[in-house]
Symmetry: D2
Subunit: 178 residues, 4 copies
């Protein structure tokens, strides 16, 4: 009955944690080098802009391109989720290996609702999907039962059934639905 | 156990309907008149930008400032929800009377998940919360059981327990939680 | 031969003054009131964004809708131009009475290059012409001889030969060219 | 007396040509590859946004990173300037070798006003200087006498006296002023 109790609780504000771990969402253009990389995270601005009235704690981890992530980087994210005092956690992550990190988090079976999301276009670039994805993740983190989920392409995926089709830039279920 | 069955279904794409009914979200600056009003809806651009991979149908109703809405305008929105073939409906609406329209929709007890949202700052103006709110509504429309909900201020409210504090520009529960 | 000497001087950086006097350029959306009005000027952000390497002094006067400007408001702008130690002055002004203020400044025959500009769409609203107009004004203020000019609609006008066609939202010469 | 006659002519609209040659100004984020490169030029949108009321012709050349430009690429730009029927030409160009192309154009001594500009941050990325620089170039192209000029960092430079300080990201005179 987790889902039902979570549903009733939504009329009180829940406290949430946002973990910034890098990815396209948070890429910044360096005008001297002329390249996209990481600087100060955009998440403080994103959270302020979203006019969220309940408490939100932002934890910034090293910002990484998800293609550069090693096992220890995923374990650092897992550790941040485990240490978090909040029941609802949103992880901002690169898209290329988001399913791999979702597996690491899912297998840990924490009693928290964890939602991973990211962006196809950086928040700072025109026509970005970042704020939409953040909104989706922020919403479903408050309405889904404990478990690990991925939010991309307008859909919600279970951690053990999601893949990125890199040639199309679209997230899909990893296997056919029975 | 509606919530549980809905939760399992999220690994298949759901079809959704977005109903554009106006409000601050969709306000447009008229450069000849020098005023904010309504023109072509921004929703087609918002939906395209969000990179949603499942089917989304947009139904555009007359775009109205919600302070100008009459009973017949709310009944038009109810009728659009009733006629919709989709199970998940997002209504873009002005903030000032969003709770009133939520009541009209909630009392109709349709077997659909309906989420109302809007914006404090128009989509076309810097620092707008519109895309975040649209993302939240789009997410919870796919994860909540049938019923009518309001998404604003980073929170999800039941249709019969929400009010806008106009002096603060924040949505709150209408009564204390027991 | 003022023009020629000014042309040679452009290889040294000139110091410039920007006078903020309001108008559509600087209108800000008040999310509590739901109206466009004036708040903190956008000019500090505009100047920083423009990556100007020479000294620029910003003088902020009362920000006004130019339809509300009285004689004393135009005299305040004239006084700010007269007091300015810089040779090049850009005045950010509402479009509706920009020609009237240009006449007040032009008839004073100051030995400075003064350029008035504004915007059809506020800087903070999508698709705004404000930054383009500011750039044009900033450029011609450094290349035109002493005198008063209006920059709008992609053109440079003399102070005594410019009008706004309000029905089209376009600036034009006030009289036919001989 | 070229400068003086040009000054008088500014009260009639001049026809202008914009030559798109690439550079940071026009870089586009490819969401599949996850890289900045070139796609459709942003110049049609930039020109429409600027609300220019006189005729502007856009000529699009191959869009190149200016570090990749060869002699033949600069000669293609020179050829486009020579063939242009307009008296005023704005060239959108990468910043890294803008002074080199300015030299090629300047030594040709065409009887036209040619202004090169670009951007430190792409037009499509937050906080870009592109629209400001385009405005400056568009203004001084109408007010300077025939010759070749570079507009960057809020300043106007002669073609034979400009360099980019790459470590600072700032344009400067190449030699000390006598």
């Amino acid at each position: 009955m987790i889902a039902a109790s979570r549903f009733h609780s939504h009329i009180t504000a829940m406290s949430l944690c946002v973990i910034a771990a890098g990815g396209t969402f948070d890429k910044h253009y360096d005008e001297i080098a002329g390249t996209l990389g990481f600087g100060a995270s955009v998440l403080p601005a994103v959270i302020a802009r979203s006019r969220i009235s309940q408490p939100v704690r932002l934890e910034q981890l090293p910002l990484l391109d998800s293609l550069d992530m090693q096992d220890e980087d995923r374990l650092r994210i897992l550790d941040a989720c485990r240490r978090a005092g909040e029941d609802c956690i949103i992880v901002i992550h690169g898209t290329d290996t988001m399913p791999e990190t979702a597996q690491v988090l899912g297998q840990a079976e924490l009693d928290k609702t964890i939602v991973l999301t990211g962006a196809m276009i950086p928040y700072e670039i025109a026509n970005s999907d970042a704020l939409f994805n953040f909104g989706m993740a922020f919403g479903v983190a408050q309405t889904l039962p404990a478990g690990v989920h991925v939010v991309m392409s307008g859909q919600v995926f279970a951690w053990d059934n999601v893949r990125k089709d890199r040639s199309q830039g679209v997230f899909q279920p990893a296997r056919n639905t029975p």
